[in-house]
Amino acid sequence: MQIRVLFFGLTADISGNRQIEMELTEQRKAKYIFDQLLLEHPKFASHQLLFSVNEQYATGEEILEDGDELAIFTAVSGG
């Protein structure tokens, strides 16, 4: 099953990507993906990050399904 991960602002700059596709061979929680990205991009660790699954803020406990859209980003600063 395939999922998509979006990056914005600082996380896009750090990861060098705005969007990546990932393959999952077994059922996983969102946390599994987020942890993997944190490992892959050590610079993420020095920032307060937020996560979303399918355009909703996520705790990480969400069970992923094929076609899910995840995102990882720093604390928002609009307004």
Partner: protein, 143 residues
């Protein structure tokens, strides 16, 4: 009618604030947020911003705005809410966000507008980058 939009065009405050006016209403309160020229740094020096770039997770930002309006309607006796946030490059002094709230009694309009901008800054996935003469920085909010 409530509305919530993202736009890359300059925001006209009047047109936002007038769109929330229903005939039975008495007052509209509007928050106009715009780019500061000088921002204080953590070391207490001030830094001159040349321009800003706002980036949004558009679909989620619109969903979060819609949720905020629904919550505001539960909490305050208001008539209509309009929220427009600009994205892309903004010059200093240009409006980044307008929130207009109409209500039969102005007290509720003030309270709801103040609540909406506070929550928007906390929950709506939009990020601001300040661009300086020699550098640039993505601003991080507080969780």
């Amino acid at each position: 009618m409530d509305f919530f939009e993202l736009t890359t065009e300059p925001i006209d405050i009047t047109s936002v604030s007038r769109r929330v006016v229903p005939p039975e209403c008495g007052a509209t309160v509007t928050l106009d947020g715009y780019a500061r020229k000088f921002t204080k740094q953590k070391d207490d020096t001030t830094r001159e911003t040349l321009y800003l770039v706002y980036e949004a997770y558009e679909e989620m930002a619109l969903k979060e705005m819609q949720k905020l309006i629904a919550q505001a309607r539960q909490e305050f006796e208001i008539s209509n809410v309009g929220i427009v946030h600009r994205t892309g490059r903004l010059e200093i002094g240009e409006t980044s966000v307008v929130i207009s709230v109409s209500a039969p009694h102005r007290k509720a309009a003030f309270a709801a507008c103040e609540w909406l901008i506070r929550e928007l800054k906390r929950t709506v996935p939009i990020w601001k980058k300040e661009v300086y003469a020699d550098n640039e920085k993505w601003i991080e909010g507080e969780i």
